[in-house]
């Protein structure tokens, strides 16, 4: 097997609470190659954010606990690093931007100083040099009048400009991976378009990889090369963006697609919501976690966890669904070809 830039295997994360342990991430595996965008999609509470936060070592421990799995960045383990070593790779090898730039930046420091701080800590340059580079970074993310803007505080920036500033900060040390956790959810569609365009441009220019976390399938369609669909702490389907959209092999992926209005059809048909709600992760179901909401559910789905069924020779497209088993009935709307059991 060729080595991937980032290889995450069987990641498991739990949180201890008074009510018991919440199994937020239950055996998640994925990889990222240089220059590609991996989108992780799913509803709130499915564990997408916890997955990437544990990679960055920024989940609070306790109550959080990484109970299993590994994450290799260029072959080196990054899970459970001691703080000093974690600080050395965080922000240098992997940059991260967040959903809400207003609360993610320090309100008492100027934008310029926050970017310079990153450079002074990681690159050991003088304040003057760092400030100069901070302005360059702001210019690269297309902030007009960067020199003056660097002297302003976050409250003087609009939401879109703050997101640009945060991208500038995360790019300071030229990371090989940028993790973007719902980067445009709080923004208007026009500003979202600008930020997505900026991210694609930087990705092309730097051959940077992006892990994009979102619940918006339209953003996925626009940005992603590959997609991982998460549900209740597991990846239920993964594949290239075309496979996920045109050869959906998991009922949950279909459900997400049906819940969105298409811009093509006139409005005679009702949207098809996914009924019910996600399972309780204090006590996750033994079998398929989507069983209770699945329109195609079968008897086997409740007691037995479905393995990963793969579809293509390099195993990149897979779905965790019993309908992919050879003995399962044919379902018109699901992709069910060349299936094979790997797990």
């Amino acid at each position: 097997m060729t080595e991937h830039l980032l290889q995450v295997t069987d990641l498991e994360v739990e949180f201890s609470t008074y009510g018991g342990d919440v199994k937020a991430v239950r055996g998640v595996s994925f990889h990222v190659d240089p220059g590609e965008t991996l989108a992780i999609v799913g509803e709130s509470g499915c564990g997408k954010s916890v997955t990437v936060q544990s990679l960055m070592g920024i989940i609070p421990m306790p109550p959080g606990r990484i109970t299993g799995g590994s994450a290799l960045l260029r072959g080196k383990e990054i899970l459970g690093l001691p703080p000093r070593q974690a600080n050395r790779f965080r922000g240098v090898e992997v940059g991260m931007i967040f959903q809400d730039p207003m609360t993610s930046l320090n309100p008492t420091m100027t934008i310029g100083d926050q970017i310079s701080e990153t450079l002074m800590v990681h690159r050991n340059v003088s304040y003057r040099e760092a400030s100069r580079r901070a302005v360059e970074l702001l210019e690269r993310t297309r902030i007009p009048e960067a020199k003056n803007r660097a002297r302003q505080y976050p409250f003087e920036f609009s939401g879109g400009m703050l997101q640009r500033a945060m991208i500038a900060q995360s790019l300071a040390c030229s990371p090989s991976i940028l993790i973007a956790d719902e980067p445009t959810t709080a923004l208007d569609v026009t500003i979202q378009s600008q930020i997505l365009e900026l991210m694609s441009e930087l990705k092309r220019a730097e051959n940077m990889s992006i892990i994009l976390i979102t619940h918006d399938l339209a953003v996925v369609a626009r940005m992603a090369d590959r997609v991982a669909v998460m549900y209740a702490g597991q990846i239920v389907e993964s594949g290239t963006v075309d496979e996920i959209f045109y050869e959906s092999a998991h009922p949950y992926t279909l459900g997400l697609k049906d819940a969105m209005p298409s811009n093509r059809e006139q409005r005679d048909k009702n949207l098809m919501p996914i009924l019910g709600s996600p399972p309780d992760l204090f006590d996750p179901p033994k079998g398929c976690s989507y069983y209770a909401r699945c329109p195609f559910a079968m008897q086997v789905c409740k007691p037995k966890m479905p393995p990963r069924f793969t579809f293509d020779s390099d195993h990149s497209h897979y779905a965790r669904c019993w309908l992919q088993h050879d003995d399962a009935p044919h379902e018109e709307r699901l992709f069910q070809q060349g299936k094979r059991d790997v797990d």
């Binding site: 509803e43 569609v189 026009t190 378009s193 600008q194 399938l217 459900g255 209005p261 409005r267």
Partner: protein, 316 residues
């Protein structure tokens, strides 16, 4: 026609001669049993318009009519009582719009209680009926809002508005805080209620695909004024105003093949400040087809067909 406004305006004085032009002369007409979608970026004054229309904010100038009857310039307590039977509002944030210290029974039943025409038992029955109707369980009425998820709270907000059996409902971004799968549930619920109760709605949102999907007519708002209005499908598939065009171009679709073919030409700049707006088109600074007169002359609404209006000098 159920709702009509003419030059409805809401300015907020900011002291030292500054005025924030939140809503600046909006004229709309909504027919009975029709859903009008109102779209625009944040800061364009959509919510302020909704609140001014229902009397939650006092308008600065202009006129508004409900079923041909002029709405008072300033709502008195009696006016609120009178019109809250006809007009209700559903709010964006299902967390801050429900009083955490009231049970669901009190939250939903409060409207009927204030009207004073029902006994406690009748109110309880009505609340139970409405909880079932919006897809919740009648046993939930003694619970508090924090015991519910976002989608369930939004249903409580809908039940609170609907129990009055209003004619007209302003839905202020009712789905933006919800997950995609739950959004579809709430939209279908609103659609069913529209059919069964003959409701008329003003549906405020920034999600263009969703607004096209739910509404019969669509109005596009920019910096307090209307840029374009007309039947939803026409505005969405054949936008005329340069702002509407850019807005729809920026709207991504859940289809990778279409997205790959999309020319990446995002709209430039950001919405400008609504403080002390002078003459000229509000969109002039960001408009790709700006002309000299756009900076000095405010464009009037120009009818380009029986049903469509565009406020742009290009159509003169």
């Amino acid at each position: 026609m159920l709702i009509k406004t003419r030059n409805l305006t809401k300015h907020f004085p900011m002291g030292i001669g500054q005025t924030l032009h939140a809503v600046d002369g909006i004229s709309i007409e909504i027919d009975e049993n029709e859903i009008m979608g109102l779209v625009g970026e944040s800061g364009s004054g959509k919510s302020t318009f909704g609140k001014t229309l229902t009397g939650l904010l006092q308008r600065t100038s202009g006129d508004a009519w409900f079923r041909g009857e002029a709405l008072p310039h300033k709502f008195t307590a009696e006016d609120h009582l009178k019109y809250s039977r006809e007009m209700q509002m559903i709010f964006q944030d299902p967390y801050s719009s429900l009083n955490p210290r009231m049970t669901v029974l009190d939250v939903i039943g409060e409207g009927l209680f204030i009207q004073g025409r029902h006994t406690r038992a009748q109110i309880r029955d009505q609340v139970a009926m409405w909880l079932e109707r919006v897809g919740l369980n009648a046993d939930h009425m003694s619970r508090y809002p924090h015991e519910f998820s976002g989608g369930q709270r939004q249903r409580i907000g809908i039940a609170r508005a609907m129990i009055i059996e209003p004619k007209f409902v302003v839905c202020d971004e009712p789905i933006s805080a919800l997950d995609v799968s739950v959004q579809a549930q709430v939209i279908n619920l609103l659609n069913d209620l529209k059919q069964s109760m003959g409701l008329t709605m003003l549906f405020i949102a920034h999600d263009l695909s969703m607004v096209r999907y739910v509404s019969d007519k669509m109005s596009v708002m920019y910096l307090g004024a209307l840029a374009e209005s007309g039947p939803s499908n026409e505005v969405f598939f054949d936008p005329q105003h340069p702002y509407t065009r850019l807005l729809i171009e920026a709207n991504p679709e859940p289809d990778p093949r279409i997205e790959r073919g999309r020319p990446f030409a995002p709209i430039r700049g950001e919405i400008t400040s609504p403080v002390n707006i002078g003459a000229g088109c509000r969109f002039a600074d960001r408009c790709p087809s700006v002309m000299d007169r756009c900076r000095t002359e405010t464009p009037a609404d120009i009818s380009i067909s029986d049903t469509r209006k565009v406020a742009c000098h290009l159509f003169d």
